[in-house]
Structure formats: C-alpha cells, structure tokens
Amino acid sequence: MDEYPAGSLDHTIPFLLALGVSASSTFDSALSPALKEQASLIRSSLPTLETDQAHALLDYIQDRDASQLPCNGRESERRYRFRVRTAERSFLLPPRRARIPDGIETPPFPPVLHSPFSPLSPVSSLYPDGLIDAQWTRKHQELIPSVLLCFYTLATDPSLATLCDNQIKTDVNNIRGLLSQSGYKTRLAVVLLSDRVAPSVDGIQERLDNIRKGCGIDSKTFFLVPPNDSREDLERMAENMLVTLHSVAIEYYRDMGRHSRKKRGRGVAPQPTVPPTSGTSQTLSLAGWNVRYDYKSAMFAEYRLDMDNALRSFEQAYENLLSSELMEVIPSWSPRWNEARMLADVIAVRCLRCLLWNSQYSAASRRWQFHRERIADLVERRGRGTSNYGWEAWEARWATVVANLIEKADITDFAPSTFKLYLQPEKSAMGERLQPWELLHHTGYWYRLASRHLYARRSYAHAMPEDDRRPPSFSPASRVAGKAFTYDTYMCPDPHEEYPIMGQPGVDHSQLIVDCLIRARSEFRKRNQIRLAAELSLECARELALIQDWPNIVELLRPLWLGMSFRTEGWLTIAEELCWALRTAAAMAGEADLVLAIDWELLNQSFTRRSKWHYDITRSLEGMTPKTKPSIHVRDDKILSFISASFLFKDEEGKAGQSIQGQLAIKSNAHQGSAPIVFNSLEVEVEGSVRSVILRHQEDGEVAEQKQGGAIITAVTLTEATDDSSEAEDEADRKAILQGTAPLSLLPGQTLVFAVEIPLREPGETNAMSLKLKLQTESFDLQHSLTFQGGANANRLWYFPTSTPKRISRTNPLSVRVLPRPPKMEISHPTFMDQYYTDEPIYLEFKILNKEDLDAPAKLDAILLGDEAPPFTLEIDGRESQDSSTVGSDESRLLAVPLGAIASSKSLTVRLHFLPIDRANNYDLTVRVVYHLATNPGTPITQTAILQLNIVNPFEANYDLLPRVHPDPWPSFFDYEGVQQAAADDDGNSSSNDAPPAAALSPPKGLTQTWRLVTRYASFASEDLRVLDVDIRLQASQTVRCFSTRLARQFPPGTGQIIKPKTMEEAAFDIVAQKSTLDDRSVAALDVALVIKWARLGSDDDDMVINTTALPVPRYSLFGIEPRVLASVAHISASQQHLVELKVTIENASNHFLTFGLSMEPSDEFAFSGPKQTTVNVLPVSRREVTWRLLPFLINSSDTGGDDDDDSGSDRSGGDKGKGEGG
C-alpha cells in the first residue's frame, strides 16, 4: 500500500486541531512553498497555556487520536474518532482560491478563481483534465480541521476578570474572522480553564454566558474546565467534550458532503479559470466531474463512518470512472490513463475497506477479484496487455493491498489463536456458488499470492530483449517510443530500471519475493501451518540461491532439514528437494558437517538418482576446505538412513558362563552404482552381560566368508579386551568389550551378515540395543548410530551358510534371557538325620566341596527359620566359631561368613552346633555358599542347601497312681510318745534320697500314706534307643515328706536297655508320703516327673552322650479328707495253699467318728470265714482292719502261682462289698 501516494488509501478520520496550549510537537501543515505563500494564517494573540491541567487535558485528547486504530466497526465503545493535531498559537490554512500563475494571459473578464487542488486552477497538476488526486484527500485529512478547539484561561481574580473576558472575546472573534476570511467552514470550539476555584458560581456563570454571547459561540461547543479536578474527573470531562465535538465534526462533514452532492446535482461541468492552451486543450468532462463529486461525497461519508453510504458513492464513482465515457476514452499513452487507473485502485481499496468494515468478507474478496478482472480487461483492450512485468507488478501489489487491509481491519476471527484459515461467507452470500477464494483467507495466503505474481513479474522482466533494457539515452528514439507502447509502467519502473543490462542496479526481484514469502511464512507459522511454512522456506531458499545468499539459506533450511515431517511421513520428493537445496547452500557456505550429513542421507535409493552426481561419500567434501576436520554423528531417526541393521540372538535362553550365537545384518539401500562404503569399525551395544561388540575393518582377514542369497556371511571370532576408558571403580562393574575383525566394505544393495558368539556372564536379560558405524577418512569422521528395531516388521532372518535364511519367530529376537550359571560347589551333609530329639545337643555337619576347576573364595550364609528358632554356633573346619544372631523370634542367622578360598576339588567342613532343644518343632535350615571364580570376579555364583530340621520328643508316657497300705501303724491321736516313735522308725527305714532336708531336721509326725505310681513309657523315636535309667523326680508341697522306691528291676549299668521304636515299657514306683504334723488335714499336691536317661545307639561307651529327658506327670493330690478303704490279700501259709486271707483296712484320716457297714456276699466260687455282716466304727485319725479267710472252690491253674505279696484295693471299695460311711 506504500507505493500509492501518501494518504490516498488512509482511512479518513475527522480532523481536530487544538490551539492555544504549548505542546512538544506542533502542527505543521507542510504546504508546498507556492501554496504557503498564499495560505491564510490563523493566529491567536493570547499567550499559550502552560498549566499542568491544560497539558493533562491536551495529553488525554492526543492520546485518543484514532489514526492508528484498526479499521473496523467493532470498537463500538469508542463513540468518537478524531485525528488530533495541536498548534500553539497559529497555523496555516491552504488558500481557498488559487492565484493565477504569472505568465498566463489574464482573460478580459474577471477570472473565477478555484481551489488550488481543483483541475480548474492552472496551478493544479490536474489542470485541465485530471480527475482527482491524493492532494485533495490530504487537504481534508491533514490541512483543514473540522473542529478548531481553542484553549483559554479564565481568570478568577475579580480585578482581572473583565480584562481577561474581553481578551478572550476579542481573540475568539478575531479567529472567527480569519476563518471566515479563509473560506473554510471549520467549526470553532472554546475550552476555558479557570485558574482557581471561583468564589461564586453565579458570577462565573454570568461571565461565561457573557463570553459565549460575545464570541457568538454555540453552548454545545463551549466548555469550562473547573480547576483542581482529579485526573478521573478531567478525563471524564474530556471524554464528554470529545463526544460532543465529534457530533459537531460529523455535522461539518455532512455539510461538506451535501455541498458535493449539490454541485453534482447541477449537472454542468464548471469551466476552468483559464481555458487550457497547451496539450489537447481538453477539459474534464461532466462524467469526470461526477466521478469527482461522487468520490468527494463518499469520502465525507467515510469521515462520518457512514460506511454504507460511502460504499454506495464509491461504487458509483468507480462505475462511472470505468465507464465508456471516461476511462475508455483516455488514451493509454497519456499520464491521465495511469492517474485514472490509480484512482480506480484507490476507490477499489476504499470499497474493500467499507466491506471489511461491515464484515462482508466474501463480498470483499469478490470485489477484489472483480476489480482485478475489470482492470485486466481494460488493460487488455485499451492498455498494454497483461503479459508484461508491469501487470504482474500490479497484481502483486493488488494482493499485498488486501493483505494490508486485512491487517488493518484486525479481524477477530483471524487472530492466530482461532486457527481459522479463512472466514465463512456472510449470510447473504451463503448458499451461492462461491469460489473457494471468495472465502476470505488470512493474510499469509495473500502474501503468497503476491509472491507468485512477483515470480511472474521477474520472468517477464527477464524475457525482455536486451535492446529494450538499455537506458533511453543509449537507444534510438524509435526504440524508446516502441517501449512506451509495449511495457506497462504503471507504478513500476521503466524496462531499463526493471532489469537493466549487466552492471546496472535494477529492481531486486528476489528481495521482493523473499520479503513477501517471509511475511507469508510468519502468518502460516502463527497458525501452526508448519508444512506450508516449510514450503515457503523452500521457495525462499530458491530465491536466496539466485542471489547467492548461502548462509541465509543454511539458516533457513537447517532447522527444517533436522526435523522435517516430509521425511518421517514419506513425502520423499519434497525431502529430496530440500536436501539438495540445503546441500548446495551448505557446500557454498562451507558447512562441511551439513554437507556430509546430507550426502550421507542422499545415498538412499528412495531418492531419485541424479545422473551426474558421484554418490561417493569420500568425495563429499571435494572443493571444500574446512578449517577443522569435520566429525559428525548421524542418528537413524534423524535422517532417512540408507543402512538398515538388525541383530538376532539365535536362542531365547542361555546360561551364564556359556556363549550364544548372534547375527548382525547390515543392509545397504544405497543407489546402485554408488561407491562402496568401507567402515572402519562398527560397534554393537549390548545391554547386559557385555558392553559392546566391536568389529574392525580388515580387508583380507582370515575369516570365513560365505555368500548366500545376496548376503555375505562372515563368521567373526571375538576376543575380549578390557575397556580402559571406563571409569567404573568397582571391578565388577566394568564390562568387557569383545573385539573382532572382518571386512566392513558395504556395496550398494548388499547385505553383510556377521556371525558372532557372545559369552554370557550375568543372569538376567541381555539385549542388543544399537549399532554404531564409524567411517573415518582423511578428510572427515562420520559416525552413524542405529537403534535395532524389535517390532513386528523388523528383519528377522537368520542366515545359514548353506541354506536359505530362516525366519525367527520369537517375540523379541533382540533379547536373550540369561539363566544363572549352574554352581559347581557342592554342599553335602552326610550325617544329617531325619529326626533329632529334644534334650539332646545337635551337631550338624556340612561338607563344602569345590568341584570347580579353579579356586573359589566363598562365603557362607546359614539361616534357621521356624517358631522360636534357637541360636546356633558355626564352626569352620573345627577352627573358628561364630554365634548366630537372632532376627525376630522366627529367625536366627549367620550371614556372609568368609570361608576363605576353597581350592579346587578340596572340601571344607562346617559344623552347626545347637544346644539341647527342649521343645519339639520343625525348622528350615538354609545353608548357602556364595562364591566366585578367581577368573571372573564379577559373577557371583550361589549354591544353596535347604534342610528340614525336625526336633521330636523321643518318649511319651502314661501313668497310674494306685493306693497302697502303708505297713506301719498310724500314730495314735492320743499317744504322744507313739507318734514320736513311729516317726523315728520311719526315718530310719527311709531308702529315698529325695526326702526334703527340712523334714529331716524336724521328723514328721503326721499320717503316712503309700501310693504306687505305675508308668508306661513308649519310644517315639524312629530308631532304637538305649535307655540307661528310669527314675522319677518328686516335688511335693512343703508340708509333706515324700520319697519313692523303684520297684522294677534296675537296668544293667553302663549298657542300659535297648528300646525299639513304638514299644512300651513299664516302670513302677512306690511313693510314701508323710505329713509333717498330725494336725495338718489339708490336701497335698504332688508333682512327679519321669526322668529317662538315654543315649543313641552306636556310640561307644566312652563318648556316649547321655541325654536326660524329663516327662512331667500330671499333678496328683494326696491326703484327701475322705476315708480310704483298702483291701489286701495274702496267702496264709504254704500248707494251706489255697487259703487266702483278705484284709480290708479302713483309714479314717478325718476328724470324725465314722461307722462302716461291711457285708460279705456268699458265693459259689469260694467259701469264707469271718463276719458275714458287721459294723465297724472307726475313730478319727485311725484305721481298722477286718480279716476274712477265703477258700476258692475252683482252682485256676494260673492262680496257682502264689501271689503272696500281691495286693489290691482301692481307697473306696474292697473286693467285697465292704463299704460304709461314717455316721
């Protein structure tokens, strides 16, 4: 839009001029010297205002200047628009009437003078037949204010008041007079700023009225600003003032518009001041005058923001201008032709603005197209045609104009955040057959369109013959004349400037195009149209290549090349174009890295082959002299790699310590005929056991090489090397590198397969990760890294030397699962038994045997798990011992006990020692040996033995406690001496050692009872045990003295008795208990434990370990208060063999006198002598006996064995029914 004359396309806004306040920038009408001379000066004689308040007010008004506002009707809250200028004291108005220039013959009658901007005045450039030009537009926009706003101070000092008022009145009237003299109808407005708070409002009001009337000013345009108002008040006041003034200004422009229409209505073409004498002597026709009037009224409507009317008038002017009466009759060689074209453009632009203002976007686009076609048609028919650079230049300009208008209009829907590319048609245009371009697109598209026309312009310019491009002074006149008819130079330079002959600076087409493209690109980028932006960058680069601006191309294309979507999405033709463009530029700009990387990528066969290109990476840098040797690193996801690589493990699983076969396949997809690529080395990165596998190039190595199906299979022997560069501190962290050599020369289309054996070290996953190809030449280093693809479409062929490749169908052939190395250390436990018994000390012996080929430093863990796991002691080879620690209640353990290095095929004995355990339980014992081989310290190997330690009770027993008659008489309750005596006797007869010592000191004198404890114990062991002794341990209450007598036979000392598993043995003990005093009648408790001393078989007498197991017997209670009735049988004599004496003893330990009734039932089986029925009275604390003699009738053979001491009885009933209760 800048190429049009200044101001011709600007949106017109009412012009407000402020007068009377000193301002930093003052209004300068910038009149031409000729006009200045005749200009009328408007000046105020009063001094300028310098107060802060006046400045604040003026600043606010200036702030509201609307000349930079977007041109749309959206900002409705803005109730006025002003273009604000300030003048201090005076300003110039252009002359209303132009003088007749000197040298022109004055006509006889007094001349009618016209405005200097009118085609009627000879001074005007339009004279005599021009239409209208930008001067007129500028006149109203910049020279003639619609409102003149005068600032004055209102003095409140009464002494000065009258003087001041009069001064104001005089000044205003003076200005008014000057204005009317100038002939302009500028409205006058006055602002009074009072200097101080007025003493009385009434007085002020009176004064104001006085001044107003004195000046003849309308009350609407007369303002008083009270002093000391706050800023907000001032602004509000200014706002109101501007709104009022706006309506005044609108009125002014309405008058002007009315005036234009009135003149049009007259229907006659005015006569110029002086009839033209030069040129064609043609004056402006009536049609031309109508265009002028329509244009003026449209402009005044635009001032009023009456866009509908403005549009109508503009369209009318446009139609008339292009009608057969006007444009059609102007000869194309005349300067008026171009002026008329420009006027048509200006009107069209203003129409477009009106349409955009009214949000008629599709109509605007259509109007744009319409104007273009109208002009094209006109130029074709009447002008110089559309096939020349001038037309294309205009086309480009015409597209740019719309872009600028759209920018100015600031359309909300085009904000980048909406991501709208074009606007929907307005309602009136919906449903019509719209051209897609009629949906208004954003400015990026318009700039791009402009760039296309600029291309065309250049190609037309370049097609000009050389003769036409000579400067006019160098070419024959006929040629110059011919040129004028061939080339359209409307708003563009002549051919010799457009595209001069070599050496002359001309139009920089490339720069124009690049500017356009860059502007378009930024718009596309704002809206995320990255691909389109990339396309424009590419176009830009092509342009820059023409002007050989290589560094800028690199800067432009490098980011695209790095991350372009064309490559990843498979738009290879585009990617290729970009690569070549960048490559050329990079080569010229000396970007060796870039050249290398692009050449590397371009080797890919997917790109089309350029026939004259060498396709040899080693020649890539020919002609370049990089300062340093370039070293680049290419990643396969960044470029379209022509090398594809895959890695396969043959098996899914492997074991640590063994090795696994793998194949690395590298396929080249380079252009056929391109130079073979000889890599220096390639490195497979493996995650897991080994760090990497490196293959180095060796041209003629002694390696097996076989060809199969287009693939060359090479078996590579790998040797291990330590990586010195690694900074791993721990030796175990350092991983080995495997190295090998192979021929690494890759021909186009060839597949190289390397078969390697990779030793596996650590258990877990081992993955092949990536491949690094290194190419080092004298001029550059290149490293290409590829990540192996494990997906479904990865190459999964396993090559065989002799047969066709086989597809490996595992899910992930890049990975191998490494199982732990099988340990060769053995843990044996030859003496471990299924069962161990309570109460015996347990020794567990383990033998750790190293079956590895090498010495193995080992460590031992022993862990015992179970309920209340007992502590243990560890003894290694009988030397050192360590105690276990207890973790919680369930675990006792000993961890990482160093065993030292165990030599190969040597063993070590480890013993665990447990103290006797008193409870039967099951424990889990884990013995673990962790070792590593001296050759491979990074790989720990573990051998574990898990044993179940069962602790069981070796014996179980049951018990019977039977009453017996104590032979000694009871002490008499009434015989003090006797009691003493009996007790003394008892003491002497005692055979028990268990008598409590306290009782021995004071001999007991209480009752004595005899019991018999019969125990039956069984062995629960799983093997024969040797029982050495069985005894009981008595524990009676303090008041009782007890001792026991073993009845059964003693075991043979030393050897004991061997008890088989699950057999029962019996042992009986007599227990005699005596109360310490006769008076004690309470029940006494008796705790008995059966103590078995035993040993395992098989041990010699010398080191026999005797274990003692105590089996607790349920608690018994003695000395109940109830009487005991005991029966005993005895054979009387040897002669009377069958005669039996039955004695019933009744013991009454209570303090009561008891009577018992006894009766003997007669029977068929025996005869008896004695009372058949009797009553026995038993005194307290005494006992009585009743005796029968029995003679059995039937002699059983089994009974014949005289059981002379066999007695039986119970404490409650005898063999007879002798039973009674004391009464």
Binding site: F419, R433, L434, W571, N793
Partner: protein
Amino acid sequence: MATAIPSIACLGVIGRNNNPLHISIFPSYDSSTNSFAPVRTPLQFSLLLSSTLDVFELRARHNAASGVGLSGDFGLLHAVDERLAAYGFETNTGAKFVVVVDMRGRRIDHGAAALAAESGGSSREREKRLNAAAVGLREGEMKPVFKAIQTAYIKLLQNPFFDPDEHSPPAGRGGKKITGKKFADDMRRIGENWTPGVTNL
C-alpha cells in the same frame, strides 16, 4: 464466449501416518496455449497435498475441542490462490482424501455456462462476473468425489493381497504407496469425469 468451469487438478490419498499413498494429477485447460497441461509440477502438487495436512491437524484439534465434525467431510481445507483449492475428507481409520480443484480447469461454451450459472443472482454485474471468470462451487459439491474415492479405497482394502499395515504401519512412520493399477484407474476415472453438478461417479 467460453466460460471456465472447475475441474479436478489433483487427487491425493494420504495414509494414517500422513504418508502419501496415491497422487493423481490431471491436466487443466490453459487458455494461453489452448491445450491441456497440469497447472503445477508434481513436486508442487506434493507440497500442496502435504500442506493440507496442516489443515487436517488444525481441524481435528478444533473439532475435538468443539465436538463436531464426525462426518469426516472437512469441506474446503484452504484455497491456495484464486485458482486452486483443496477439499478434504478423512475416513474413520485416518486415511485422508484430498481433492485439489482447479477453478478454471475446463472451458465450456456459453450456453452450458448459463446452465451452470442458473442459480446465480440475476444482477447484471454478477452475470458478467460469472461469464468472465469461473463458476463457483456449492458446499457439498465434493461429496460425490469423496464417496467415489472411498468406494475405490474400500475396494482396494477388500483385496486380500493388499495389506493396509504395510502402507500405514500402526506404530511407525511412513509406509508404502499404493501400487494397484485398478485403484489408479478408479482415481483417474473420478478425476476426469467430475464436473460441478455431477452427483454420481
């Protein structure tokens, strides 16, 4: 007087990974030489088709935000200048069809132009414009084209030897182009037979 009417300049089928599957280019009438020639080079058409992907992405984002646009017809994607405009359609499997229309690709004599412009406004100016320039396009005028392309594409998918995953790998980039001759023939037929107002292809 002859009138320029729209014709198809290029048909593009773009895969799920934004990869080009098929591009057909059709010649347009060139009034200056009175012959038929493509208006752009294949590279330019490639660039043009790839630039529509920007618009597809913008629309997809916009549609996802506003919850519309389930039909798959994206309508006018953008017009690159006053001649060429791109229309788009996206299937629910992510394949995209792009029709590039040359608004002045064919020429018909005056009578037919009047017929084509029957629905246009009656104002003098409009008629003049229509005669001078081209016939516009109504919304939805591309539907038969998309329908036909979709039918052809479905036929292609029904071919048991056609592996869609090979052409648009589910988790990858790029993909092979469509090489089927029948599909290419279908596309050619669609591109050559379409004119404004055609309802069945």
